[in-house]
Subunit: 418 residues, 2 copies
């Protein structure tokens, strides 16, 4: 039974222990049309199959020239060039240019053979029908993007597991990557438990509260590209939790039991994880505050977690244990994510050595400084959870941080790695 | 025709001019089940209809007591209390407690009438079958969340337009808000134009490049909760652009023509916006770099934009003009969003007074400092667009920022307001 093997592990050990029983990659791969890939992660590196733009391209409206023909040009002593034509957008020039010649080209137009620079139209003057005066010299390559200056064929443009943002959709489009191999969303089953918990549709009776964790965790899973399924609240009847957990286990890649707040509920959850199969429960506590009453297990290669009943604690445990699997497919492949930002801690925070602490903070701007105000409050309160902008970590062996220190803030909504 | 009325406006004026012709709110409202509301915005404030938790609730496992019965208690001289029962989770206690009495309660359990504090089980010792010794005093309210301590009935918990994050789903669940009135996504039609642009499925010929902007803008619209529809590339035939734009106008709440890079294409787009209806084109340039060749128009109360051909410029123009409409429904209701973060600029940036500049930066951590490295590159290059983590603004009248200065960085992915 759970409480007898009361194993409290630091986060790194908890991850390592779970990793021993998990596959190297939990996620499946799938081919998706580019437009469906926002927020997905690449299942393999993207290597450019051609040069971009693929031809020498003007970055301004002006005249394609041989740079050497403009050397020494000034407004007092302009270079006189003969305009031999105009380059049509989206077409190859019909002929090249020779010494003393120029062709009109618009922004994005292709340079003709012989040309190696573009003079901006503002630096030219029309002289008669066929000539221009250039009042300023251009160097070779000026106002031109070379054929492989944006992307070289064979170059790796994105590593595997890269998270696809709006600008990446455009970049992949430029490369002609219209079908992308991405990781499929992990399917996560969420079961709620605790005799005091009722579904949000219900009016709570005396001593009852509505289910918060299922909804918060649902949002967290979706935010990280997962596919979340709620299995509702299992209470009163121990058999009900067992049934829900069994079904969630069969139907999902990963299972979260969001615990009631009492020790009794937790013990019961631990027991069911043990009974679910091998290897079962791996640890029975995390050296983290808030988040200590976290259960971690693996059954037949699938992770099964018992998260704390307190919503703020459940969110932290999720970030530490579930998020890495959604983001990287395994604990072994965890990489640094979005950089934490820096802010001045506005009040001192004490911490007990021997456990990591995560403090919710709200950012505040005063003069030119960014401050992190700890959002404190009794454990179990919901309001601090929605007031905060991010998290500050106090490491395992630290005794705290004093006010006025610059600290790292992991901003909610950014792709951070804790 | 476009070029004759060449009106270049600063951003604030561009927004004000457009606002004169736009409705006060572009978005419709709709009722949605809570689980479909992640990333949506509230169409009205949420006001709590009841107290949360609704009863005095223990935050620890222990004994509900009258605080006064523990005054002066110490390990040497503990208070002796009679345990009159145990409180079942999720139920009202069957009776209250009187002087010298205690009831066993688990975390989250309801306090019995008469009790005003909870002694942690760690600070008690069982004495015989019916008594405990309390070795430490508790104050009134200690280890208890009061009935309205988390949320008071009648309190506004979220203002209108609040963006719903994972933790907010949980909070709304706690309040029993299972159907939420949110803003419906704005439907945005995206047309691409430019004789040099081909669809990403095509192999570009000489002088041609693939459509980047449609895809980047598609991602930007989706990221902000909009509903994006691509109308493909209109090129060569002027009539084709007119047809696509007409159709996009009829079928959407907002239309973006993502321009080719040349002046000719822009003029043509301007003309079509004028012909689409009243009031038509409002301005023909934005005092922003990159982003100057931006067209802003309104036709019959619908915004129609011509964004620059350069992808990085199109993204900035989108952030300045389209994003506020997606996020706030009108320019009049723009509010500060996520705070920019602070970082040390690693190289000096010059700027021309009279226009705002937006510089893409990559964040870098060195020692304890966060640096913002400008991602520079010729205009029209794609690579800088995907390398950057955020934007630094140089205001309209500034001549630049010197290296070593702390600057504000608007982080991509956060809900910032430019």
């Amino acid at each position: 039974m759970g409480t007898e093997l009361f194993t409290v592990l630091p986060v790194s050990e908890a991850r390592a222990e779970l990793a021993r029983h998990l596959p190297h990659e939990l996620r499946k791969r799938e081919q998706k049309p580019l437009l469906q890939c926002l927020g997905r992660r690449l299942a393999r590196p993207v290597v450019a199959r051609e040069n971009v733009p693929g031809f020498a391209r003007s970055t301004v409206d002006g005249y394609a020239v041989r740079a050497q023909d403009t050397f020494g040009a000034s407004e007092g002593l302009p270079s006189l060039l003969t305009v031999t034509g105009e380059i049509r957008m989206g077409s190859a020039p019909r002929h090249g240019i020779g010494a003393g010649e120029a062709m009109r080209v618009a922004t994005g137009g292709m340079l003709p053979p012989g040309a190696d620079a573009v003079v901006m139209v503002e630096h030219t003057e029309q002289v008669g029908e066929r000539n221009i005066e250039v009042g300023r010299p251009v160097g070779p390559g000026e106002n031109v993007i070379g054929p492989d200056e944006d992307v070289k064929s064979g170059e790796e443009v994105f590593p595997a597991n890269h998270l696809i943002r709006p600008q990446d959709l455009g970049y992949l489009a430029a490369l002609g990557e219209v079908t992308i191999e991405v990781y499929a969303p992990l399917r996560v089953g969420i079961v709620s438990t605790g005799d005091e918990i009722v579904s949000p549709e219900e009016k709570p009776g005396s001593g009852q509260v509505r289910d918060v964790n299922s909804y918060t965790l649902y949002g967290q899973v979706l935010s990280l590209g997962g596919d979340a399924w709620l299995y509702g609240v299992a209470k009163d009847d121990p058999k009900l939790l067992e049934d829900k957990l069994n079904r969630a286990y069969r139907e999902n890649d990963l299972v979260i039991v969001s615990g009631g707040s009492s020790v009794g509920t937790r013990d019961h959850t631990a027991q069911i994880i043990v009974e679910l199969g091998e290897p079962g429960l791996i640890f029975h506590g995390l050296a983290v505050r808030p988040g200590k009453p976290t259960l971690g297990g693996v059954v037949g290669g699938k992770p099964v977690f018992g998260l704390p009943g307190h919503p703020a604690a459940a969110m932290i445990s999720f970030d530490l244990l579930v998020a890495p699997l959604l983001r990287f497919g395994s604990y072994e492949k965890i990489k640094p994510g979005a950089l934490p930002v820096r802010a001045v801690l506005s009040r001192s925070l004490a911490s007990a050595p021997g456990r990591e602490e995560y403090i919710r903070v709200k950012l505040r701007r005063e003069q030119e400084k960014l401050y992190a105000d700890p959002v404190l409050g009794k454990s179990g309160l919901l309001a601090p959870m929605v007031e905060a902008d991010g998290l500050v970590r106090i490491p395992l062996e630290s005794e705290g941080v004093t006010a006025g220190t610059e600290v790292d803030v992991y901003l909610f909504g950014t792709d951070y790695t804790l």
